[in-house]
Amino acid sequence: MKRHLFLLTICLSATLAIQAQQETSADYRRSSLYSVMVNHTDQKFADEIKTAFLDMEIPDKYNDHDLSVKVLDMDKKLKGAKSDRENAIITDFLNNNNVGSRLVAKWFNRDAFTGQCDVELVKERGLYNASEFDKAMADRSQRARALLEDAGEDLIGNTFVLVNDIRYIDKSKKSKGFATALRVLGQVAGAATGVNVSDLTDNLGDMIETIKGFKVGINTFLYQLVWDEATSATFYQNHFAARPDEAKRQAFEAGRGTYKLKFVGKVESKGSTTSFMGIKENEPQVMVLKACTRAIDENVADLGHEVEAFRVKVPLLSTEPLTAPIGMKEGISKNSRFEVLEINEDPQTGKRTYKRVGVIQPISSLIWDNRFMAVEEGAPGATLGHTTFKKVSGGDFYPGMLIREIASK
């Protein structure tokens, strides 16, 4: 009897442990992201790359702050793309199209026809107590002002634009590997379409030109919405309308230039080859999606290393052991260091502050490989579900505390 109960317990425990690993907390504030691509219509696979980009989701550690324009065409190379400096063509596009004002308008769900705004998205992303927030706003109390200040600093001011300049890297090779790859893609192209493999030109099958896979090079430019005291004051005083207000609507339209974006950084992907492992032969478009997603994720992680405001904060899932839902996709390596942050909320004003209470470091053999399609690829660490850390310094930690990387890799 005892032996039977013991075995039953093991079965149930295994089930519960698996379930626990799959749960991650969504209850933390994220930065907001608008991602757009520069599509080079002069290059091979422009359509496939555009399709892959449109299929990509905003990285899960950020809020989706996309606008309705996602694809910008160029029929030549982007001048200055290789430089680390701000790119005049991109900045001109963002300024000429008043992108900053549109990001602000999205925060407040502004109706373009009536000028009416609301704060529902602020409440939702700020994780505020909804009824308390509404009451404070209705009373127009000191608390309301403080809540909006808090939202401004921690949310609206952490709105970013990613401009991804994507180019296909043509690395045709005549080698045994090449011949093998052609035979592999022949199973995709030849059997399915009857096209003579050696006659392929601008065909999807052409893309797998090395045994390793499809390559893209992506230059990503990062801009941040400027939300300082002057800007927020202008908005709340002159442009925010709780009800339809033609005067305020017009004032906002005339004042779109008030809302600016500042260039904060630029990175270039390494152009590493993406393995076709894990991709079914009759889905070559998935190869394009994988290559583009991996490259953009890599750039987002690199930008996080360079730009503190863009760095992700995620909650600790557990303290014994120390685990968090972050991994290689966010650029974690064995050399990464993370500060543990305690969240404090002022009961009077509702303002949140973060205080460092310790430092932790990933255990190198327990780093989660959460890159796109890592599981299908069979990558080591792909099924961990979280990264495990060890304490470097600090006192007691508890689940829900946030961690944020403090050292570059």
């Binding site: 009897m1 039977h4 075995l7 079965c11 520069v38 599509n39 555009k50 399709t51 449109l54 606008l67 309705s68 324009v69 996602k70 694809v71 910008l72 065409d73 160029m74 982007l78 063509i89 001109d92 596009f93 000429n96 199209n97 549109r102 990001l103 308008a105 999205k106 502004r110 109706d111 373009a112 026809f113 009536t114 011949a179 093998t180 035979r183 592999v184 199973q187 030849g190 059997a191 399915a192 379409t193 009857g194 096209v195 003579n196 006659d199 045994i211 393995s275 076709f276 492992m277 894990g278 991709i279 079914k280 599981v375 299908e376 690829e377 069979g378 990558a379 080591p380 792909a382 099924t383």
Partner: protein
């Protein structure tokens, strides 16, 4: 609990655990040297990393590659199919593998067992009927016009998805019955098509019958095989053969001297060829004779129709006009006196001498109540079933086909809707009425004196809202409706909504609800209506504000819109 029961309980528990473990699909593992194998969920190596590549498990097997050859491994790590094939392609519908070594194709079964030896020059993908084209010999040749390859000089056959050869690959000409000739009131009839078989194309039919010959140029004078490759009709017996029906083949033989066709039938059991009539080849619509429908066919000789049996003898004749309901399989034949006799496909008279002078057949069997037939007696129409029982009395000036139990009826030039229980659903007060397309509709449409379609709410029993020149069926309370004189601006956004094509007015419409309320009073693409309805329902059905409409238009067109980097984009293309 006694010992036996405890043992059973423990066995069940362990069995459940065991079953869940074995159901796990192995995952690809790549080692430091870049070699691939598979591990289970616990990370235990099941298939050693000895391969150059490994593919995701499918059908319980993983495809592995070494050098330039492929094989299959199972979930225990056993090599089920040796790594010797140049290609292995899994057909996930039929659960088989089409394999290739050198230039030869073969077939493996679901467990990797050989079903068909690799000795064929080509096996096409299997079609939805489980048939594939099988080829022997021939040379792959590019067709520059079609930008595809095809086999020149091959001999063709048909392969079943279980690996059995339906028709041996020994015919230079293999022709499917795909060409429809003369869709008409008395039955269509299909001819053979002598198209090229491009690599990658599938067969288009179930190959119950195929044409064949030894030349491979054209289906003229071709013979017919059945699905097992048995010869039903030898080549050269007729010039043009229709697809067999009821063991009979309708044929047309061209007579050069007179430029006429001799038309008749070949009985496939007796091989007797009987000519029934002659018709001019110029301008023929191939409606002088029908294919056999089970036991009978109809032929028109000197303007009079007669029914014949498989011996080509007359069963009944003297009819001036003939029609057949393809959905109901009922024939209607008009006598010289203008009365109708009704037959089934066996030639049995369903009802005759009832004084019926006309009939209206159900137009399709999608939602149509094919059990019922609208018939005319004297000057009035009624609805009867196939046993001649009256469902709706003979008091109407016109009746259309019953759909989902709703019957459009007309009196004194006014249309309404009756139920099959003869209850008034819509009173006969309208220029026209559209039958609902579901059994429990909330609304449909009536045409009023303004010649526009108006919503008729069935629950409210009244017309609601405005009139529209064209409308779509209601879909859970929402429908598209095209206002009269609606124009669609030729803007970039509208072209994007129209699939990046020039704006066509008729491709756009408003969205209304079943109370006649305009939910979207802006032209929206009809091709995207399902997506639009979904978005509307997400927010609760209510008239959308201009801002909500704009955001919806931009959302559904995001994949079709792209802009030059150096241009300023109009505010109309931004959602904020």
């Amino acid at each position: 609990m006694d010992k036996m029961k405890k043992t059973i309980l423990l066995s069940c528990l362990l069995g459940m655990v065991g079953a869940s473990l074995s159901a796990q699909t192995l995952k690809i593992k790549v080692d430091e040297k870049g070699k691939a194998g598979y591990v289970n969920d616990a990370g235990t190596m099941i298939v050693a990393c000895n391969y150059d590549a490994a593919y995701p498990f499918e059908n319980g097997f993983g495809k592995v590659m070494k050098g330039e050859k492929f094989g299959l491994v199972d979930q225990s790590g056993n090599v089920v199919v040796p790594v010797k094939w140049d290609e292995i392609n899994y057909d996930e519908v039929n659960h088989i593998y089409v394999v290739k070594t050198g230039k030869k194709y073969g077939l493996l079964g679901q467990q990797g067992q050989e079903l068909l030896k690799a000795q064929y020059s080509y096996i096409s993908p299997f079609n939805c009927y489980g048939k594939a084209l099988l080829a022997s010999g021939g040379k792959s040749t590019p067709d520059t016009n079609a930008k595809k390859n095809y086999l020149v000089g091959a001999k063709y056959g048909v392969l079943n998805a279980d690996g059995s050869v339906a028709i041996p690959a020994k015919y230079k000409g293999l022709y499917e019955f795909t060409k429809e000739i003369a869709t008409n009131t008395v039955g269509e009839g299909k001819w053979m098509d002598s198209r090229k078989y491009y690599l990658g194309d599938t067969l288009q039919t179930d190959c119950k019958y195929v044409g064949y010959d030894t030349k491979g140029w054209t289906f003229l004078n071709a013979g017919i095989l059945d699905e097992r490759g048995n010869i039903l009709l030898k080549p050269g017996v007729v010039n043009y053969a229709f697809m067999p029906h009821g063991n009979m083949v309708r044929y047309y033989d061209y007579v050069k001297k007179s430029n006429n066709f001799n038309v008749g039938y070949v009985n496939l059991q007796t091989q007797k060829k009987t000519q029934m009539l002659t018709t001019a080849s110029n301008g023929t619509t191939y409606q002088e004779a029908t294919d056999f429908m089970d036991a009978i066919a109809a032929v028109a000789i000197n303007g009079t129709w007669r029914f014949i049996d498989r011996q080509c003898s007359e069963v009944k004749g003297g009819y001036k006009k003939l029609a057949k309901g393809t959905a109901s399989n009922i024939w209607r034949a008009h006598t010289a006196e203008g009365l109708c006799d009704f037959f089934d496909n066996e030639g049995n008279i369903l009802f005759a001498n009832e004084g019926y002078t006309d009939a209206f057949f159900p137009r399709s069997n999608k939602g149509t109540d094919t059990e019922y037939l609208a018939v005319k007696k004297g000057e009035k129409w009624g609805l009867i079933d196939k046993k001649n029982n009256v469902k709706l009395p003979f008091e109407y000036d016109k009746i259309n086909d019953s759909r989902y139990g709703w019957v459009p009826v007309m009196k004194n030039g006014k249309w309404g809707l009756q139920s099959l229980d003869n209850e008034v659903v819509i009173p006969m007060e309208y220029q026209d009425v559209i039958s609902p397309n579901s059994p429990n509709p909330s609304a449909t449409y009536v045409k009023q004196a303004d010649q526009l379609w108006h919503v008729y709410n069935i629950g409210l029993k009244s017309v609601v809202g405005k009139g529209y020149s064209n409308v779509g069926y209601f879909n859970d309370g929402l429908a598209w409706a095209h206002p009269d004189k609606m124009t669609v601006t030729d803007s970039y956004l509208n072209r994007a909504l129209n699939g990046e094509k020039e704006v066509v007015n008729s491709n756009f419409a408003y969205v209304i609800d079943d109370k006649g309320q305009e939910i979207i009073a802006t032209p929206m693409p009809i091709a995207h209506m399902s997506e639009i309805y979904q978005e509307i329902r997400k927010q609760g059905i209510h008239p959308l504000s201009p801002n909500e409409v704009k955001k919806l238009q931009l959302k559904i067109s995001v994949r079709q819109r792209h802009y030059q980097m150096d241009r300023t984009i109009a505010d109309t293309d931004w959602d904020y």
